[in-house]
């Protein structure tokens, strides 16, 4: 077996050194009844590289690859071009095969990268500080609600109807097991977000208001009035960003008064990967630092006075504080954070602004073209790179029909909100820099035909 260096003579020699007659002597503690003497049944024997590649390659080929067809899906996962440098760096063994940097003398590479990542995320979100990553956007969102509960000592959070329904679902699941009560409703197919409703619901028992920006329909809106209303009642504003590229073009949530900003970092560096692994982003005001979940890299000096970085404030964490920790999170998503950070370093301020402007411009072109199709209505006129249209027919079967013709047209609201018939004609269309003019033609032609 190619991954196992011991030879049979090594094994015999080592058993002799240990004083064991056979390998079974080392498994004596396993109860007789539970010991398997032969090979486990129902599994094949070992396979060559070539054979594994063939078998899994065949499985991979059964999927319709986003990059090979006109592709317009978003709703929490975006397809951007990832520079080749990103994958090269994350495949360097010193990053790929290193451990959580508990031994800082031999982990400065990861620690400095984390520190740079924290700085990038904090600046992008307009916050004071950020942590070194969470599992994904949805779990970061729930952790933010918990942080708000601890800070305000209140347990009622109000979720915007524009929050990704899967994020709502994760939060509702987790809230069953905590003392938190969550209030939410599905969105309406309108240009206006539910700012008024949210503000109306805030009272002196509210721990936090959670809004997504841009929201699930792609709408963008001023967060400041919500922040002001929340703060006036002693509550926090949590903003959720699932498309961080947007912040190259529009104001950050932090600038508009958000106290905690969490998000999904997948759109920079990570790729689609059928939903994971992704990278959760978590940023907040500095005064909340001791309530934060997850790892934090901090600056310090070594015994010779040289600058270096360490994992810090670990008294918040499970390996020190056990049941009193701020979260049970241990392994997070550092390699994806590296991919995010390398991509953002390559882009820089200038590149991110260009990328964002290009996304918006192409999305606006597609919105114009689609809204000219008879029967199709553009729901929101304000957006970044994603918008919602209302079709004259149910969107979910339309998406399936177009997929059969080799066009991945967007995410139907029927897929996201199967219990909301009032949304069934809604289609969320995302347009990134990867969309070509030919892709636009194909989408327009396909929708025209279905709507005729």
């Amino acid at each position: 077996m190619r991954y196992l260096p011991l030879s049979d003579s090594d094994r015999s020699e080592m058993l002799a050194a240990i004083g064991a007659k056979s390998i079974d002597d080392l498994f004596v503690d396993v109860p007789e009844a539970a010991r398997m003497n032969g090979l486990i049944e129902g599994l094949p024997l070992h396979a060559s590289e070539l054979s594994v590649e063939r078998q899994l390659g065949a499985m991979a080929r059964k999927n319709l690859v986003a990059g090979e067809v006109p592709f317009f899906l978003g709703c929490g996962a975006y397809r951007h071009h990832v520079p080749a440098t990103v994958d090269h760096i994350i495949q360097r063994g010193e990053f790929l095969t290193s451990y959580t940097p508990y031994q800082p003398e031999i982990a400065q590479g990861t620690l400095q990268m984390m520190f740079e990542f924290q700085t990038q995320v904090a600046r992008l979100f307009g916050c004071d500080i950020a942590n070194a990553s969470m599992y994904d956007g949805s779990t970061a969102c729930w952790e933010a609600i918990l942080v708000a509960s601890r800070i305000t000592r209140r347990e009622k959070a109000i979720l915007s109807s524009g929050l990704h329904p899967h994020y709502v679902s994760v939060c509702n699941t987790m809230a069953q097991f905590s003392d938190d009560a969550l209030a939410t409703t599905p969105p309406e197919l309108s240009a206006e977000p539910d700012t008024e409703r949210l503000i109306g619901k805030i009272d002196d028992e509210t721990s936090a208001v959670v809004v997504q920006y841009p929201d699930i329909l792609g709408r963008i809106f001023d967060l400041q009035p919500i922040a002001d209303a929340a703060h006036a009642n002693g509550a926090l504003l949590i903003a959720v960003v699932t498309e961080p590229v947007a912040l190259g073009l529009i104001k950050s949530p932090g600038e508009m008064g958000a106290d905690i900003v969490v998000g999904e970092g997948q759109s920079l560096g990570v790729g689609l990967q059928f939903g994971g692994p992704y990278v959760g982003l978590f940023a907040c005001k500095e005064k909340f630092v001791r309530q934060m979940p997850g790892r934090l890299a901090g600056e310090t000096v070594d015994a010779e006075g040289k600058r270096g970085f360490v994992l810090t404030l670990s008294t918040r964490e499970q390996h020190i504080r056990r049941e009193k920790a701020t979260s049970n999170i241990c392994t997070s998503s550092v390699l994806c954070a590296l991919a995010f950070s390398v991509h953002l370093s390559l882009l820089g301020e200038k590149g991110l602004r260009q990328l964002a402007a290009l996304n918006h411009s192409r999305a606006a072109t597609v919105a114009d073209r689609l809204s000219r199709i008879p029967g199709v209505q553009l729901v929101n006129d304000s957006f970044f790179n994603e918008f919602t249209i209302k079709l004259p027919v149910e969107a979910r079967p339309a998406v399936r029909t177009l997929a059969e013709r080799g066009v991945l047209a967007g995410v139907s609201l029927g897929r996201l909100y199967p219990d909301a018939p009032q949304l069934e004609n809604g289609l969320v269309v995302a347009v990134t820099e990867t969309v070509t003019d030919e892709d636009m033609d194909a989408l327009e032609a396909g929708l025209k035909e279905l709507c005729a």
Partner: protein
């Protein structure tokens, strides 16, 4: 190019002249690297964009003509990001990478972390466009191969553990623990028997009590025996109608199999509670023992430990959870079912019909697809025969280290018999003033990553060594020789251990300073101070 045929060398060593300092701070291949925010600036970029004439405005970064669609929210001020050109980016991260220890460089004996070789075939498979470039919300007809892969991996995990069901979506080990406890909670509530307490052995990973608290339980410890096992009598005495579950790690964090595991499970079940098993140490028994035969109800499997997906400096991991018949109905959404030749995604909309008891959703999408592909490539490569050999070689390597170091270091449980996949030692016999950390840091100078230290808490100054099966005998012998030499120095009171490491990119770092005055992001003002 010229060579130096005379072999001439400067007669004065660098250190005599300059105290070892170089002008740049570099030392040959050891290169210092400034922060991204010091090296880069807001004007530099390493990405070019295609320039369509209609989008010329977008190219300059100025507001595009459709600016009216931004609801008045166009960014006005700078973000504060720093950019680098492509060559500078490659150099920045390559230099940083060289300051990291990694499994690709050498032995990584971190107990309970299973730092084994990460095969590159896994990376190749994960990057096939059919897996890497598909969207989680594509129509299910267009991702049948991806759903098939998730299903097939689940079948492997069920077969290897002897368990009837598996939840694939948890994102890491601790998330898997949470999944298991939420299943337990949902099952108990479904029978109208809400309970409040989770029992955790004092040797457990920190995630166990943290997870139990996160799931809304009160945590109580159960003690260990002198032989490093769960104290069955103490456990039985504590079991009662308020106990929801017992979380057991098996093999445990002392590297020992719990020989009374079947009795433990029976006692827990008789008291109406359920058994959660922390599967972090599954590598020791894969292919040799099926946890399902030990009476457990839920166990997470760290794909980034046993099944070789890379740790990546702290994730991403993946923590599927195998479940007993009692817990299967409560498994989280989404998951994949095979119906005829078709793979069906069970989500909120179709769960009422087929899976009404589910406790809900834990993550936005389907779990760690990129880790599933890697783990399955690893499992198929080994097969039933190779996986059994994995466990045997892992246990053999650990016992070899245990016997070769027993006598040099205090091995508190060595007299009770063999260990499983990891060997544990204490700091007994070290000279006054020297501790485990000093030995560990000296190991860095010898070119090894330190072992797990001061964990589990039940052993004084614990050193937990897990070599894994992917180390050769030669590598183990070199490690053992280094350990013996350093242990002797610790016992004879060699004070120079306290200044180790000497040869690493950094000397010991001031963690107290970092925590007392946290600097968590780069701020130029602070840099100037």
């Amino acid at each position: 190019m010229t060579v130096n045929p005379s072999g001439w060398r400067p007669s004065t060593p660098l250190s005599a002249e300059s105290g070892g300092a170089t002008v740049t701070g570099n030392r040959a291949l050891m290169l210092e690297e400034p922060l991204l925010f010091e090296a880069g600036n807001s004007e530099r970029t390493g990405v070019d964009f295609e320039c369509a004439p209609a989008e010329a405005g977008a190219q300059s970064g100025s507001l595009p003509s459709q600016g009216h669609r931004l609801a008045g929210l166009a960014r006005t001020g700078p973000i504060g990001l720093a950019g680098l050109s492509e060559p500078e980016t490659v150099r920045h991260y390559t230099r940083l990478s060289r300051q990291n220890y990694a499994i690709d460089l050498g032995l990584f004996p971190l107990g309970s972390c299973t730092m084994k070789h990460n095969p590159r075939l896994n990376e190749k498979i994960a990057r096939l466009p059919g897996f890497a470039d598909i969207h989680p919300l594509q129509p299910v007809d267009t991702v049948q191969g991806a759903l098939e892969l998730i299903w097939v991996l689940g079948e492997w995990l069920k077969t290897l553990t002897g368990m009837p069901a598996v939840a694939m979506s948890p994102k890491a080990g601790a998330h898997g623990e949470l999944c298991g406890l939420l299943c337990i909670r949902a099952a108990l509530e479904a029978r109208g028997d809400a309970r409040e307490v989770v029992l955790v052995p004092e040797s457990a990973h920190g995630t166990n009590p943290a997870t139990a608290a996160f799931a809304g339980y009160r945590v109580e410890n159960i003690p260990a025996t002198k032989a490093g096992r769960v104290d069955l009598d103490a456990l039985k005495a504590r079991l009662g109608p308020d106990v929801a579950a017992v979380m057991i790690t098996n093999p445990n964090t002392c590297g020992l199999f719990e020989p009374q595991m079947i009795e433990i499970s029976r006692a827990v079940h008789e008291a109406g509670a359920l058994v959660y098993c922390d599967g972090a140490n599954f590598n020791a028994i894969v292919g040799k023992v099926r946890p399902g035969d030990l009476g457990i109800d839920a166990m997470h499997i760290n794909l980034h430990k046993t099944f070789s997906t890379p740790h990546g400096g702290g994730g991403p991991g993946s923590g599927p959870v195998v479940l007993s018949e009692a817990l299967a109905p409560f498994a989280p959404l989404p998951f994949v079912e095979k119906r005829g030749g078709e793979f069906v995604l069970i989500e909120e909309e179709n769960s009422d019909e087929h899976h009404p008891g589910s406790f809900g959703r834990m993550v936005a999408f389907h779990g760690q697809m990129g880790m599933f592909t890697r783990a399955l490539a690893y499992m198929m490569s080994h097969g039933a025969d190779g996986l059994r050999q994995v466990a045997e070689d892992a246990v053999l390597n650990a016992n070899y280290v245990l016997r070769e170091l027993d006598g040099v270091l205090d091995a508190p449980f060595a007299s009770t018999g063999p260990c499983m996949h990891e060997a544990i030692f204490s700091d007994r016999g070290f000279a006054e003033g020297l501790s485990t950390i000093d030995l560990a840091k000296a190991l860095i100078d010898e070119g090894f990553h330190p072992m797990t230290m001061y964990f589990p808490l039940v052993v004084h100054g614990a050193m937990l060594i897990e070599p894994t099966e992917t180390e050769s005998k030669a590598a183990l012998d070199q490690f053992i020789a280094a350990m013996r030499a350093i242990a002797e120095r610790a016992k004879t009171g060699d004070e120079s251990l306290k200044s180790a490491p000497v040869y690493a990119p950094r000397r010991r770092l001031d963690e107290t300073l970092a925590a007392r005055k946290p600097v968590l992001v780069y701020r130029p003002a602070q840099a100037a101070e």
